[in-house]
Amino acid sequence: MMFDYRNFALRKLAGIAPRYLPFADVATPEVPLSRLLRLSLFQVTVGMALVLLVGTLNRVMIVELAVPASLVAGMLALPLLFAPFRTLIGFRSDTHVSALGWRRVPYIWKGTMYQFGGFAIMPFALLVLSGYGEAIDAPRWIGLSSAALAFLLVGAGLHMVQTVGLALATDLVREEDQPKVVGLMYVMLLLGMVVSALIFGWLLEPYTPGRLVQVIQGCAVVTVALNLAALWKQEARDRNRAREMQLAPRADFFAAWRRLIARPGALRLLVVIGLGTFGFGMADVLLEPYGGQALGLSVAATTKLTALLATGTLIGFGIASRLLGSGGEPVALGRIGALIGIPGFAAIILSSMGGGVALFLAGTFATGLGAGLFGHATLTATIRGAAREQTGLALGAWGAVQATCAGIGIALAGIVRDILVGLDAGGGLPAHTPYNMVFMIEIVFLVLAVIMALQLRPKSERSTPRTQGVEAEPQPVEGT
């Protein structure tokens, strides 16, 4: 009698325990939307980190902490240094060896920890850097190196989380559903950026050093919580895969890279992504000051500009999801996105030459729409172009190009504008000239992107479905 009771209890416990373990026991072929929505939470934390770095801290460090602007720019550029390593991270996650059969979860978890660690020490590092309290007597290198470490950790973490998270999302769904997932991921990134920008602004309104510590560390906690929620039970435990992992030969990064690049149009697609992202990215930081200085819009009105740009981008994501989900060609759609951006920027330039505010708003909306279409279509093209077992590497390459070009674009836009303003010390030029020069550069880059994209053979990848990828991979691909 006693033994039976024990046995019963043990069996009950054994049945309950797997529910509290962070993996799915079965890989279901059909992943419900609610699970994908939960997974996309990692994009919210990425967006939150980006906004905190590029938007909020940029201002707080210069205005409230009185750190020299050049030092701030250098610190904020540090996460960019890590962007090329996304390729390596993606590759490592493709070839990861785990007893659980996991490939993506360990890297997302590690990335989350780096992001958390960076945010946890960042406020104190910034306070020491700005000479708060007794830190004024501390040696300078303590503040400098700890702030640099904090930014590097956050950058490394967010690049890891985004690359491997996107790879996991790609793993989970069937090929025809991938455009929807790409759209969902982009929307969540945008949502995370917009919502966290509003919340950070509201929380830091009466600025105190204590408030800064609370906000950044709160951000760290929210990052861990959301990423854990996103990861929970997403990747299946798979003993067969674990056995295959142990037996697989040690893969070489450069060999894998050569194989990725050997696919027709793969390198050209990366160039197109770089040119287009650079072209669209330069505008982000200049639209608001342009609206204020060249067209005389108020601060409240220029903030609405960003909302208009984001609305256009969202509509672009929606259209792209729908078209690509029903069999559209991603390369062609990306070209259309870049093409929409060209008249958009032309309209923005013309608005300061007598075109008026209505033309400016139309141009802003058009560039947002173009950027949405272009971003979605090129990411979908990247995912479709890669073999199933190279998803991580392909997404790493996409992320490396995309993040580097967007970062350089944002930095260069400010630098070019400042140089042109500096050259014009006498004040002979109208206020809109430096901005219009930058917008001209963007048009040039978008035209280059369209020209490069024209030579991408749209149907080339269609003939090599991903299901064949494993068997077909040793064959040379130039025959297609």
Binding site: L13, M113, A120, E134, A138
Partner: protein, 51 residues
Amino acid sequence: MTDDPDKVWPTGLNLHEAEEVHSYLIDGTRVFGAIALLAHILVAVSTPWLG
């Protein structure tokens, strides 16, 4: 999975799997510890609480 001789009670994981899950916990503790130490040092630099 239930007939795996290697399984560890009560999770149903075998030894290698359990060790891997445990390694994430250990790594996490180390990173959290290092970060906490560094954060405390930085706070002590700006607002010293010892002597």
